[in-house]
């Protein structure tokens, strides 16, 4: 399988002001071709103003097995959310 082209993940910025969003993957021999193929495959109808392609092997992802402990630090910190705080009704603009 060595001669297979590597897998790239594709991220598209839909329009100015938005983040790049993952849209799928493709195979290409190199970065330049990956970018061109991504344009033809994922933006045939003006779906984007900017594309990132990233070799899939270079992505580090959280593992689902560790899901609970991994995201636990955010789970019990309810004070990070504005709704945690009681403010009287008569206080404006807050």
């Amino acid at each position: 399988m060595d001669k297979d082209w590597p897998l790239y993940e594709v991220f598209v910025r839909g329009k100015r002001g938005l983040n790049h969003v993952h849209v799928g993957s493709l195979r290409a021999p190199d970065d330049t071709m990956a970018l061109r193929n991504a344009r033809d495959l994922y933006t045939r109808r003006n779906e984007g103003v900017s594309i990132w392609v990233v070799p899939a092997r270079d992505i580090t992802a959280s593992s689902p097995d560790e899901k609970d402990p991994f995201f636990a630090p955010s789970g019990d910190k309810v004070y990070r959310h504005p709704t945690f705080y009681d403010i009287p009704e008569n206080v404006p603009h807050i």
Partner: protein
């Protein structure tokens, strides 16, 4: 917005373990994602379904692709080219989804060109006239839309997302086909006959696209439980018939079924018995174009080998610099 606080107590009350987590995710209508644990049978079913779907898009380029050079105007040529290019795109979105399950793209292609994996039976029929291009857009893409819209809610995330993208594009496919047919119907008697002839040939195979009747459908129950299928074959087929009848009327063509009539009691159209032996024959390889379709795909793959190798060699050379 209030944060969702899945408390430790609530989690402890639920059955634990990977299988329970999978079942719960599906039951809650949430999506299974690539790195989640899933039953082996779910994975295998998804790979088979997505691969067969991807192959259908790729093989589906052929019946219409042969008309690109013979399109009657530059406008029709540009439209057809864009449509066929979309179908290639659909195939690639789906191969991409299959790869998230650990399937290997080149292996899937190898299975297609060696006849070990199937594609939709509809693409084994020939396109005899340019009216066939219109009827494929109207009926074949129309049936595909019926099948695919519910799949946008498939429990497997990457497949559902690919289907959303595909469905957006299919609408153009169906409308360009119907518009092509309306143009022909405004033409000469010979052109109108051409349309009717194409409808006569494609109507029944289009109904077969929904698969065998529910009574004979082996995978339906499990697929419904896993939410990778949302409606039965017969439900979707009925929906397609009900949608197509007024469209045929507006076009001025007759659907080739003497038993087709409105049933006020059911609130649906009744229609005639489908020739299931024909579907079996075409699926098992004995349709009018099976051998040709696979041979063309194989030739394209083999003839393109030097391009793939050259591009890889070029990339290796660039990297070495």
């Amino acid at each position: 917005m209030a944060p969702s606080t899945g408390t430790a107590e609530a989690r402890a009350a639920e059955p634990q373990g990977e299988a329970a987590h999978f079942e719960r995710t599906v039951a809650r209508d949430q999506r299974i994602e690539p790195r989640d644990w899933m039953p082996d049978a779910y994975r295998a079913t998804m790979v088979r379904q997505i691969a067969q779907h991807a192959h259908s898009e790729i093989i589906g380029m052929q019946p219409e692709g042969v008309w690109i050079t013979r399109a009657p105007s530059l406008r029709r040529k540009a439209i057809l080219l864009a449509k066929v290019q979309d179908e290639a795109g659909h195939g690639l979105y789906l191969y991409s989804a299959a790869e998230t399950l650990g399937a290997d793209r080149s292996e899937l292609t190898a299975k297609l060109i060696s006849g070990r994996q199937k594609y939709s039976s509809i693409f084994n029929y020939p396109t005899l006239t340019f009216a066939d291009v219109g009827v494929i857009g109207w009926l074949v893409d129309g049936a595909a839309i019926c099948n695919q819209v519910p799949l946008c809610r498939s429990s497997y995330g990457p497949y559902a997302r690919a289907m959303i993208r595909i469905c957006k594009e299919e609408s153009f496919h169906q409308r360009q086909g119907y518009e092509l047919l309306m143009t022909l119907m405004r033409g000469t008697d010979a052109q109108r006959e051409m349309v009717q002839d194409a409808v006569n040939r494609w109507w029944w195979p289009s109904l077969m696209m929904f698969g065998p009747p529910d009574a004979d459908s082996t995978h339906t129950a499990q697929s419904m439980a896993w939410k990778i299928k949302r409606h039965t074959n017969d439900e979707l087929r009925q929906r397609f018939v009900d949608m197509s009848v007024p469209q045929a009327d507006a076009l001025g063509v007759t659907l080739p079924d003497p038993d087709l009539r409105w049933n006020a009691e059911r609130g649906h159209h009744d229609f005639g018995e489908i020739d299931w032996s024909e579907l079996k024959r075409v699926i098992s390889g004995d349709g009018p174009c099976n051998a040709e379709r696979v041979a063309v795909r194989r030739a394209a793959h083999e003839d393109g080998a030097w391009v793939r190798e050259a591009a890889a060699a070029h990339a290796a050379k660039q990297e070495a610099r």
